[in-house]
Symmetry: C2
Subunit: 305 residues, 2 copies
């Protein structure tokens, strides 16, 4: 990946600069500021690249509507411009060798928004999934395997499955997209899965109803008690390591029902940037801060094993 | 509670000042600084008291050992001096009319520390629980009902139950103390509880083994599916509202397996103070910041109902 680094990063700088200058109307006078910032950004990159990298980065993408209001755009336009930040984050992760990236895009709670906004978001998601399937998409260019986490609606599920199948052989980065997701829903679903498994073990043994009940009350029985690993096996994120770094944008210090089970020991980084403003420099800053606390986290985690 | 406010707060100022000047060796020269700080603290109190108050405040008490190292004390002494911060927090909550206070004192993971430290902590906890039972304790003075959350060891459980019974009639504040607690353990235990309940419903109906299995596969059946409310009923925190404000001390931005299920939408405040340094001013600052975001959080939560 190192050889690709320079060109990919340069194009990313160009993209973000073009976006910021063009779309948001920053003039030529701010060029000096932008160039200084990018120089610093490159310096941080050179520091970050030699430090320990997170294996799994999760991002709660928050602040699209606030960004739209701030720049007098329609709320739906706030959602449209999320892609540049996502590209920047994915590129950065790819360049650093991060293996898993999880993005929290659209929670179950978001479905309680206005129906036209929900419909717009679903259409946008459908369009983006279709883009993934194109040969020259960033997903295929970077060798990204795409998975979806959540209770997907039928039409989105069908498109999502096509995208998952089409990218199943990619193995550079695993990109998990949370759609119609909430942690309480995921945990409850996992409890249901583990419970059904218990039912099957119990009933498969052809015991009488009385004998089954007796076993139910013997909570110490190896086959009877639901264990942490049983729940983990039924989570949407089964098979994926826990995030090392969880980034939440727009300065909100809440997890908003995202990845609660998975983030008990990960480093939570709160970025004040709204998601569409979340650029490479914010990402690098988050990784730099993660690298600073990593030895301490590792020491803590070792004690727990 | 208002009438008590002045005297309690004054004694608390005196306590914290005495502690800081005496134990930590601050001299007379720092008096001006301390008095200015306390004056500002009183000003913030007068602002905070007129704003909306959180109903439930949870605190992850972190940094005792780091405090001990910082002040060249033995590690166990770091744990001994947690009480002053706890008193300050409890007094502040009591004065503000906060109904529920949850403190995360000792997680299951802490049991993996050195055995002498674990033994010391258990002895200290036992001693503190015994203190609760004394007539003139702060718990009885403020009318605090004490509950314990977690998988308590037999000797601690017996003492804890005595303390819970002795304070069962107090109704000003509910103080929940997490001991031998972890969220993954709580959730797994709740899944087990909900699953056993499903077993009982199914087997109580005297169905044949085949009919039971058929029902197990019909996941839509009303009695068959574990719901969020089923898990909630089996959590340690059942019956207690979710925290509005969760404070974590020592600048750590992790939940460390505490209250994951309960904190999906609450305001998370990270304080840089180590727990033994966490004074009234830190608590007031946290509440002030909560008050600032409360209207936004309420708007968000309304949309989710």
């Amino acid at each position: 990946m190192g050889s690709l680094g320079g060109s990919l990063l340069s194009s990313l700088y160009a993209e973000t600069q073009g976006f910021e200058k063009g779309s948001l109307g920053l003039g030529l006078l701010s060029r000096l500021y932008a160039e200084t910032r990018d120089f610093l950004c490159k310096c941080i990159w050179n520091v970050v690249i030699f430090g320990p990298k997170p294996k799994h980065v999760a991002v709660i993408m928050d602040g699209n509507r606030r960004f739209a209001r701030k720049h007098h755009l329609k709320e739906v336009d706030g959602h449209k411009i999320v892609l540049l930040s996502l590209m920047s984050t994915l590129t950065c992760c790819y360049e650093m060798g991060v293996k898993y990236v999880t993005i929290c895009a659209f929670s179950i709670d978001n479905f309680k928004r206005r129906s036209d906004e929900v419909q717009f978001l679903m259409d946008l998601l459908y369009e983006k999934i279709e883009n993934i399937l194109k040969e020259e998409s960033i997903v295929n260019r970077y060798g990204i395997r795409v998975t979806f986490l959540g209770n997907l609606e039928p039409n989105i599920r069908e498109a999502a499955e096509r995208a998952m199948n089409a990218t199943a052989k990619n193995d550079n980065v695993v990109l998990s997209i949370c759609v119609a997701y909430s942690s309480t829903n995921e945990i409850t679903r996992a409890a249901q899965g583990a419970c059904t498994e218990r039912f099957k073990i119990r009933l498969g043994s052809n015991l009488t109803s009385g004998a089954i009940m007796e076993n139910v009350h013997k909570r110490d029985g190896e086959n009877n008690v639901i264990k942490v690993s049983d729940l983990e096996r039924h989570m949407f994120t089964a098979g994926c390591p826990e995030p090392d770094l969880l980034i939440r944008t727009s300065g909100e210090t809440r997890l908003s029902n995202y990845l609660l089970w998975q983030s008990s020991h990960c480093y939570l980084h709160i970025s004040n940037a709204l998601w569409p403003e979340f650029a490479l420099r914010h990402m690098l800053w988050a990784v730099l801060k993660y690298q600073r606390v990593k030895p301490y986290l590792e020491k803590k985690n070792k004690k727990m094993v």
